[in-house]
């Protein structure tokens, strides 16, 4: 009887904690969405009146639109470059257990754990020592390093699930290495590459520490612009930008799930 009671308490505690965690995960997104439709000047919650005025304001703030474009451009090029470099690297190291391959894997994954602030500062020092002017390209170089671990992780997961016999078949039938990679390996791991690219794009779009050092007035990125606005005071326009990001992400998530079953794959990769 005592045990039955202990198990009951256990179920209760686990379920209540889990429900709390779920509410915690969901709440901020919902709050932002609701707050963005306020008709008031302040972020009083719940909003005293409703309107789309802050979304309308967005369309007229050139600085926010410019920052969004910069962020999208940087994320695009960083995704493209880290996608190519990362996929190639994952093909080289994912199936090897040699010490050299493990070392490379550790090196490529390290931007995920090392403080990005330190990396951003060090890259700024290199550029200024070489008197390279900061531009969208110096920013992109930093972002490629930040994005690469995500690509490697996702693509490696795909490569490891690949049956190595397929490669051997292709090679023994007379295909060259390059032809085998192009016609056999790449098509089979393409879901992993797409998932990696998706996560790389989002992480670049969202990245702050490196941009903090490598972007100047001409190359302001969206997260930093938003940070500056929020430092100056609570501007409801940020709620509208957040609303747009949440809606675009939700649509993207549903599309990605529908097209590639991204959720299940991400989970496998982790």
């Amino acid at each position: 009887m005592a045990r039955r009671f202990a198990d009951l308490v256990y179920s209760g505690v686990v379920w209540i904690s889990a429900l709390f965690a779920m509410v915690l995960l969901l709440a901020p997104t919902v709050v932002v969405l609701i707050a963005s439709f306020t008709g008031a000047q302040t972020l009083k919650f719940p909003p005293p009146s409703w309107s789309l005025r802050w979304y309308y304001e967005l369309l007229q703030s050139d600085e926010l639109i410019a920052a969004t474009w910069t962020s999208l451009k940087v994320a695009f090029w960083a995704t493209l470059a880290s996608g190519m470099l990362g996929t190639s690297a994952a093909l080289g190291i994912a199936r090897s257990s040699s010490a050299w391959a493990r070392f490379l894997d550790g090196l490529f994954m390290s931007p995920m754990v090392l403080p990005a602030m330190a990396f951003g500062l060090s890259l700024l020092m290199v550029f200024s020592l070489m008197s390279v002017r900061l531009s969208i390209w110096t920013l992109t170089v930093g972002h490629i390093v930040i994005c690469t671990p995500f690509v490697i992780r996702m693509v490696s997961a795909s490569v490891q699930q690949l049956n190595p016999v397929l490669d051997d078949c292709s090679l023994s039938l007379g295909a060259s290495r390059l032809y085998t990679v192009r016609r056999i390996t790449l098509p089979l791991i393409s879901p992993g590459i797409l998932a990696g690219g998706f996560v790389a794009f989002l992480s670049s779009f969202d990245h702050v520490p490196v941009s903090l050092f490598l972007s100047d007035a001409r190359t302001e990125v969206l997260p930093i612009k938003l940070w500056q606005i929020l430092e100056a005071g609570l501007d409801v326009r940020v709620a509208a930008v957040s609303g747009v990001i949440v809606i675009v992400t939700l649509v993207g998530l549903v599309l990605a799930e529908w097209l590639f079953g991204l959720g299940a794959r991400e989970q496998r990769a982790l």
């Binding site: 901020p28 009083k44 403080p115 500062l121 020092m125 290199v126």
Partner: protein, 286 residues
């Protein structure tokens, strides 16, 4: 053919060489430069020495900032662990619907920008925010509490923002768990609590460690959340580095701060990993 022979020593890792070269140039070399710059005695870049490191240890403030930052990482990681396990246990026992819901809830914040999530916490914790309004309406608090710009607020906000990084590896490790072990424990009369404590927790250490390291690294370096939710009075390493580098323009000291910060994070990751591996060997050997 000649080219092929020349490339032979690299063997199968050849496709990784372009990225290795790229990392050497824009990741390894900059960190080396950072180390060199941290060794200059002043912003005039004349003599070398350990001046910046002596300054760090002796001024009292910087050591305090480092300590606070690491403690913040520790608090956030602990809160994430406490939330991720119940979530994972429910996921493990749940049906298709429950699993899909939990996965969606975890992915949602992971994919919405950290700035957006930080902003949400400002709305929730602010003077006229949800928590304050609710507490005032319920008559539990006489006046609005200071939730924003407080240590507790910062920990909760960061924990929510980083929870997905913890939940995914923990769930993954729970799924790899051999269910027959739980049935055996059950059959031998272990209560649910005991099963968690003696079977589930020890066997999911790898997931908890993987998630913990990511959460620790992310929360100690989360510049935006730290400045906006923590406010000006809570000074942490990223803000300190930023102010020294961009505000004061003291590059040698900013470089030294970065190096010390990096070494601390690497050392902690290494120790935690070593501990986890020793632990897993113990479990598997027993």
């Amino acid at each position: 053919m000649a080219l092929h022979r020349k490339l032979e020593p690299f063997g199968e890792t050849l496709p990784a060489m372009p990225l290795a070269a790229f990392f050497l140039a824009v990741f390894v070399a900059p960190f080396a430069l950072l180390l060199v710059i941290s060794l200059f005695e002043s912003t005039e870049f004349r003599a070398l020495g350990l001046h910046q490191y002596v300054k760090f240890v002796s001024d009292g403030f910087s050591v305090r900032v480092l300590w606070d930052t690491l403690f913040l990482g520790f608090c956030v990681t602990a809160v994430c662990l406490l939330l991720a396990y119940p979530l994972g246990l429910v996921y493990l026992d749940g049906g298709r619907r429950v699993r899909a819901t939990i996965l969606f809830l975890i992915m949602l914040p992971l994919l919405t920008s950290a700035v957006v999530r930080t902003f949400a916490w400002i709305v929730i914790l602010g003077r006229e925010g949800i928590v304050n309004n609710a507490m005032l309406a319920l008559g539990l608090w006489g006046q609005p509490g200071r939730l924003l710009y407080s240590w507790g607020g910062l920990v909760v906000a960061l924990a929510q923002i980083q929870l997905p990084l913890m939940a995914l590896p923990v769930i993954n490790s729970l799924l790899k768990l051999d269910r027959t072990l739980l049935d055996a424990a059950e059959g031998l009369g272990a209560s649910s609590w005991r099963q968690v404590w003696t079977v589930i927790l020890p066997l999911t250490v790898p997931g908890a460690v993987a998630g913990g390291l990511l959460v620790f690294a992310a929360s100690t370096t989360a510049f935006i959340t730290q400045t906006l939710v923590g406010g000006g009075r809570i000074v942490l390493m990223p803000v300190d580095i930023y102010q020294q580098a961009v505000g004061v323009q003291d590059w040698p000291f900013a470089a030294a701060l970065s190096i010390i910060f990096t070494i601390c994070i690497v050392a902690i990751s290494y120790l935690v990993n070593a501990f986890a591996q020793a632990r897993m060997r113990g479990v598997n050997g027993a």
